[in-house]
Each structure stands twice: as C-alpha cells, then as structure tokens.
Amino acid sequence: MEYIFDWFRVLYQETGINLPFLYDEYDRNRMVEGFFTTIWLSLVCLFFSAIIGIIGAWLQGSSFKWTRRIVNGYIQIFRNTPPLVQLYFFYFAIGTLLPRVDNDWGGQSPILGSFAWAAISLSFFAGAFNVEIFRSGIEAVPKSTVEAAEALGFSKLQIYRDITLPLAFRVVLPALNNNLVNLVKTTTLAYAIAVPEMLYEANQIWSDNVNVTEMMVFLLFAYFLLVGILVGAMNRWERAMKIPGYGG
C-alpha cells in the first residue's frame, strides 16, 4: 500500500499531477469519509424513496378524494421544482423554523443536521417519481388477476401486498432503476448544504491543494464507477426477478 502511495507522491513531483488523497493521510481520510457519506446517503434515500413510492401508490388508489388529491399535490410539488430549491427549502426554511437544541460545546444547534435534511429532501424528491412509477406498474397488473384474488376472499391490503405489488414491481424495475440511478447522482446536491459527501470533500481538497483539474477528473470517474456498479447490480436483480414463462 505504502509503495502505491509513494508512487503517487513521485508522480506529483515528476509531472505536477497532484492526487493528494492518494499519498497524504489527512486528505485520504477526507476522501474516504466523503465516499462513505455518499454511499450512506444514497442507501438511506433509496430506502425511504421506495417506501414513499409504495405507500403513495397505494394511497393513490384510495376511495377518498382528498387522499388522492394530497398525494397528487405532493407529486406535482416535488416533480415540478428543482431538487436544489427543495433542499434549500427544507434546510433553510423548514430547518430554521424548528426548535434548536443545546449542543456539546455550550452553544445551540438545529434539531436536524444537514445530512438529515439532505436525506429527507432527496427521499421526497425521488419518492414523488417513485409514486408515479409504481402507479404505472399497478395499472399494468391485469384486473382479472386481481379479481381472482378477490374471489378467493383476499382483503384489499392482501391483494396489494401479495398480488399487485409483486407483479407491478417486476414491470417497473427498469424505470425504478433509472430513477434510483438519478437519485445517487443527485446526492451531490447535498454539497450545497455542507453534507460531507464526495463532492464536498473533493472541494475541500482542491481548496487546500489547488488541484481542481485532477479532482474533477477523479470525481467524474469515481461517480462513473459507482453508478456503473449500481446499474450492474440492478440489471442482475432484474434478471433474477424474472418469472419463468411470464412476459418477454
């Protein structure tokens, strides 16, 4: 390992290509933290946006007019506004309205930190698209299949959980994966409210080292690889979910 680190130090000395996070321990720790913050933020948002999508699509099928209206209003607001504006709205508008709590240094801090707001904001953002994606899948489930479950005495909730959702899920996986890939890329917006994710940490490093070009190239490749791995995993999952003899 040390040998590789030294190689990059020499690379810098010989060519001027400066990748300090590969030879300097302090910068390396920053980059590692940024990497894991991005992963963690992505996972949290993936999870909650999927939950929002599933529940939202279920509520959209409600027989109460106002339930449907509220869900549709939520979708319109979050789909038709820029995610950065949403993030600022949560962090600066809602965040400042909430009570503050005493912190360890004798001062006061907001009740929710920037990571929590980024997670909430991005989950709602991606969740709005997920509701629409799940709804399209639910509509693709044949009414006759649902009827068969009704005739067997399944309750509405059982039908949704055991029949509609598993079938809809397989239909929407490609669209869902697309949205989730977008979500992972959108986590870079958390940079704007100082969540120490990859882009933020890269900025810290280039501010100290004045190596903007190198950091930008690195970031581009880092996200390319990260999302590439995600897409590969999703494609495997799509294949694994295929029902023998069903669909194309």
Partner: protein, 248 residues
Amino acid sequence: MSWTPAEPMVSIKNVHKSFGDLHVLKGISLDVMKGDVICIIGPSGSGKSTLIRCVNALNDIQKGSIKVEGIEVNDPKLDKLQLRRKVGMVFQQYNLFPHRTALQNVMMAPVRVLKQDKSIAEETARALIKKVRLEGKEDAYPGELSGGQQQRVAIARSLAMQPDVILFDEVTAALDPETVGEVLETIKDLAEDGMTCILVTHEMGFAREVADHIYFTDRGIIVEHGPPETFFQNAKDSRTKEFLSQIL
C-alpha cells in the same frame, strides 16, 4: 341466516343488473340445491357470465335478491369475505398468479385468508394438485403450463378454500380443443363428489352429461329450463330451438 340444506343453497330472485344504460339482466330467478350441477347456456351477450359474477359479488345488482346459504348478497353491509369463503370461482382466462408456482397458487389463499398453518395448507395443496392430475407440476410457474393445466391448477386453487359451491365461467372457452377434455373430466369428478356447481358453458355435450338442470338465457332473461333430457330433446321455445340447432 339459519340456512338448512333443505332450502336452496343459492337462491336467485328477480335479479336486475345494468351497466350504465345497458340492461343486462332483466329479472332472472333460479334456485340451486346442495349437490346440484346446473349449466347456464345461451348466446354471447345474454348475461350468463354477469349472472354468476353477481353470485360472489364481483358485480353488484340493482334489484332483486341473491342468497347464498341464507346470506343476502345484495346488501350494502355484506361481509364479502364470508360470502367468498363459501363460493369458489374459476375463470375463463384461468387468472392464476403468474409470480407463484402451481403449488403456491393453491396454497396462498388458505394461508393468507383462512390463516391455515403452512405445512397443513401445503399438504392439502399437494393432494388437490394430485386430484386434478397434475402431480409433478407443483413447482412449475403458470407460464410454463399449458392452458388446460393452468385451468386445472385454478380449479385446485378454488377447491383449496373448501367452498360449498363453485362458479365456472366458460372455463373451457380459451382452451385448445385437445385440452378441453382434461378440464371437463376434472369438473365431472367434482360433480360426482357432490360439489354444487354452477357452470356457464358452451359445451353442450358436457352439459347434457353432467348437468342436473339446464337454463337457457337470452337477452337478460331465462327463456327455458329443464333437466337435460327434456331440454335437449323437447325444447319448446323457438329461440331455444334456434340456438340449439346452430350449436348441435
């Protein structure tokens, strides 16, 4: 609610049903005793399928009364679950759950709806699959089975709920001629076991063989009915005669 086997198991009285302006059922009455096998025949669009779909409340009715073991179906406070535990249904398009194997299709409702123990439900399901002569196909998905095989799984799925009466909605209409026989054979076994069956069918030979009573419907009313021998040989109504002359 105090129904005794001396009374009709299914009692349909003066039933009217409209889809918007389309008046589909115009006062239909018929009784089915326990253990009876009745066949409803008639031209397309005469309301046969609609009628049996009303019996398990998949369609509601505007006027009249349908009683299943004393339970009034045309009642806003109807407990559909209770009704559907008594009434099984088999559909023209099988409507199996495509993401579940044959065995799981049969087990699912007993486990979910009747809260049966999984191992007991599986044992019953295996026995039913054997009964419909599909041993060895337990782990096949519906998409891997032929139409006739799927329909027999659908019959087993319906039987797993231990209904008191089964509705068959043109269950052979979507099948290849070669596989019609195997499905009819299965239904015949059921009838011989004493299962109460209401069939909508175009299989006249089959109707003549297994039915206790035949009803001929046209344009929303019962034109003529009787035991198969008299019905097929001495039809009195001109519409019945015309229909039979086209079919036989």
